[in-house]
C-alpha cells in the first residue's frame, strides 16, 4: 500500500509509515509532545490506554473501538430477504468486524419460522478458501483468535444457549488453518457473556423479544454503540425504531454505506467520528480573530 501511495509524489514527510507494536510505536506516538492528535482503531483496552496516556500531552483523540451490534428484525419483515441480510451483517469479514451485527433480535411470534429460515440460509454461508469468490467466511486471522472464538462457543453452550448451526472445532476438511464453524446460537439471553462481549468471530446470538419497546431496550442494553440494523417492511416504523437506537450508525433493511456519513460509536465504541465532514472536523482546531 505504501509503495502505491509513494507514487502520488507527496510533499516529503506528509505521509510516514512505521510498522511496529502498540506498546512501542503506539506508545511513542501517544507520549510524544510533537504529535497533536491520535486516531486509533482497535480494542477498548488499548483505546483506554491511549486516552489515559495521551492526557499528559493533551492529545486530541479519535477512537474507533469495538461493537456488539444489534439487528432488530421487526414482525412485519419479509424473512426471505431479512434473514440473509441479517447473516451478511453478522458474518462480514468472517465476523472479524467491529460493526458485525452479532445480536439478532427476533419477535417471539415469529421465532420458530426465523430459526428454520436461518438453518436453511446458513447453507449459503460457506467456509473455505478466501480467494474463492463463492466463499462467504474465511479463516480467523490467527491461532489465538481461533482459540478465542472456540472459548466463546464453549461458553455459549455452558451458559445454556442452543446451538442452531455450527459449534466447536474446525469445519470438516479445513483442519489445517484457523477456520472456525460459523455458529448461530438461539435461546440467548442478553445478559449472557456471548451477547455482551465482542467475540470478533463468526458467532451470532438470536435473542427473542415480546414488544417493539423491549427490542429497543435490549438493543441498547450493551456497553457498545457502534452500529445497528433494523429490518422491516413498514419504513416509517423502521425509521422510528432506528431513531431510538444509541449507536453511531443504524442501517435500514441491509448493510449499506455512504462515504460522507460519519462512522464511530456511542459509549464504549469510541470517541469522535471518521469520514466526510465530521471526520475532517476531527483534525481541525477553531481559531477566532476579533478586531476591536
Amino acid at each position: 500500500m505504501v509503495e502505491s501511495l509513494h507514487e502520488a509524489n507527496l510533499p516529503k514527510g506528509l505521509l510516514n509509515v512505521v510498522t511496529g507494536l502498540g506498546n512501542i510505536v503506539g506508545a511513542e506516538l501517544t507520549r510524544n509532545p510533537d504529535v497533536a492528535k491520535i486516531s486509533f482503531t482497535g480494542s477498548v483496552g488499548v483505546g483506554e490506554g491511549i486516552m489515559r496516556d495521551g492526557a499528559a500531552t493533551m492529545k486530541r483523540v479519535t477512537l474507533e473501538l469495538g461493537g456488539k451490534s444489534p439487528t432488530i428484525l421487526l414482525d412485519d419483515a419479509v424473512l426471505d430477504k431479512a434473514i440473509p441480510a441479517a447473516l451478511v451483517l453478522a458474518f462480514m469479514n468472517s465476523g472479524q468486524a467491529c460493526a458485525a451485527g452479532t445480536r439478532l433480535l427476533v419477535p417471539k411470534s415469529r421465532l420458530d419460522e426465523v430459526k428454520r429460515g436461518i438453518r436453511t440460509a446458513m447453507r449459503a454461508f460457506t467456509v473455505g478458501d478466501p480467494a474463492d469468490p463463492k466463499t462467504a467466511i474465511g479463516p480467523m486471522v490467527s491461532q489465538k483468535q481461533y482459540e478465542r472464538v472456540q472459548s466463546y462457543i464453549r461458553k455459549g453452550i455452558e451458559e445454556g444457549a442452543e446451538v442452531l448451526a455450527g459449534g466447536e472445532g474446525h469445519p470438516e476438511g479445513l483442519e489445517a488453518g484457523y477456520f472456525a464453524k460459523p455458529t448461530v446460537f438461539a435461546n440467548v439471553k442478553n445478559d449472557m457473556s456471548i451477547a455482551q462481549e465482542e467475540i470478533f468471530g463468526p458467532v451470532l446470538c438470536v435473542i427473542a423479544y415480546d414488544s417493539e419497546d423491549e427490542a429497543i431496550r435490549t438493543a441498547n442494553d450493551s456497553k457498545y454503540g457502534l452500529h445497528a440494523a433494523v429490518l422491516g417492511t413498514d419504513l416509517q416504523r423502521a425509521r422510528r425504531v432506528a431513531s431510538q437506537i444509541r449507536a453511531g450508525r443504524v442501517v435500514i433493511n441491509g448493510m449499506t454505506d455512504d462515504p460522507q456519513a460519519p462512522w464511530g460509536g456511542f459509549k464504549y465504541s469510541g470517541v469522535g467520528r471518521e469520514y466526510g465532514r465530521y471526520g475532517m472536523e476531527a483534525f481541525l482546531e477553531t481559531r477566532a480573530i476579533l478586531e476591536s
Binding site: 514527510g13 512505521v18 486516531s39 486509533f40 482503531t41 482497535g42 478586531e291
Partner: protein, 184 residues
C-alpha cells in the same frame, strides 16, 4: 507495481525491513522481527522488521517539518493531493485485495469492496473538504478552521496478528499487560 519498498522474496517468504519516512523507504532502526502467518495453512509467508521508538521519532520529526509549510497550504492544493492519492491507489486495487486475502484470510467478496471503498475515501475526502467552509465571519469577528498538527493514525492490526493491538503498558501494577486479540 513499484518496487521502491525493497520487498525481497526468497523461498516463498517475503521480507520487509524498511519504514516510509520523509518520502523514502529507510532501513529499520528497530531489530525485532515478526512472522506473518498465512491463516489458511499456518505457514510463514513473510517476515517484517518492526520499528522502535527511534524510527517513530524520526517519522514524527519528518511530519513536523512537513507541517511547517503544508499546514499553511490552501484547500485547492490539498484537493490535488487527494486526487493524486486516489489515482495512485486505484492502480493497486488488485494487489491490495490479494494482500488482504493472503495475509489475514479476508474473503475476496468482502476484501475487494472494502479496498475499493478505501481507495474511494480519497475522493470522498476531497468532496468533504470542498463542501466544508473553513472561514466564517460576522461583525468584526472571523473564525477559521486550522489543521490540528501532526497526527498519529493507528490502524487496526489485522494483517500481522499483533501489530498495534498487541499490548499496551499500564501504569500500575506494572506487571499487568493487556493481552488483546486483533479486536475491532
Amino acid at each position: 507495481m513499484a518496487t521502491t519498498g525493497k520487498i525481497t522474496e526468497r523461498d516463498g517468504i517475503k521480507t520487509i525491513t524498511t519504514h516510509y519516512i520523509d518520502g523514502a523507504f529507510v532501513e529499520s532502526h528497530g531489530r525485532e522481527v515478526i512472522d506473518v502467518i498465512k491463516p489458511t495453512n499456518g505457514k510463514v509467508i513473510a517476515r517484517v522488521t518492526l520499528a522502535d521508538e527511534e524510527d517513530t521519532r524520526l517519522a514524527i520529526a519528518a511530519a513536523k517539518r512537513a507541517f511547517a509549510t503544508y499546514g499553511r497550504s490552501a484547500k485547492e492544493e490539498r484537493a490535488k493531493i487527494l486526487r493524486r492519492l486516489h489515482e495512485a491507489a486505484s492502480a493497486c486495487i488488485d494487489d491490495l485485495t490479494a494482500a488482504m486475502v493472503e495475509e489475514y484470510g479476508g474473503v475476496v467478496q468482502f476484501a475487494r469492496p472494502i479496498v475499493e471503498s478505501g481507495v474511494n475515501a480519497f475522493l470522498a475526502s476531497e468532496k468533504a473538504l470542498q463542501d466544508l467552509p473553513l472561514t466564517r465571519s460576522w461583525g468584526k469577528t472571523t473564525v477559521t478552521l486550522e489543521p490540528v498538527g501532526v497526527a498519529g493514525l493507528l490502524p487496526r492490526g489485522m494483517q500481522t496478528r499483533c501489530s498495534f493491538a498487541s499490548s499496551w503498558p499500564r501504569p500500575s501494577p506494572p506487571a499487568v499487560r493487556l493481552s488483546l486479540s486483533p479486536a475491532s
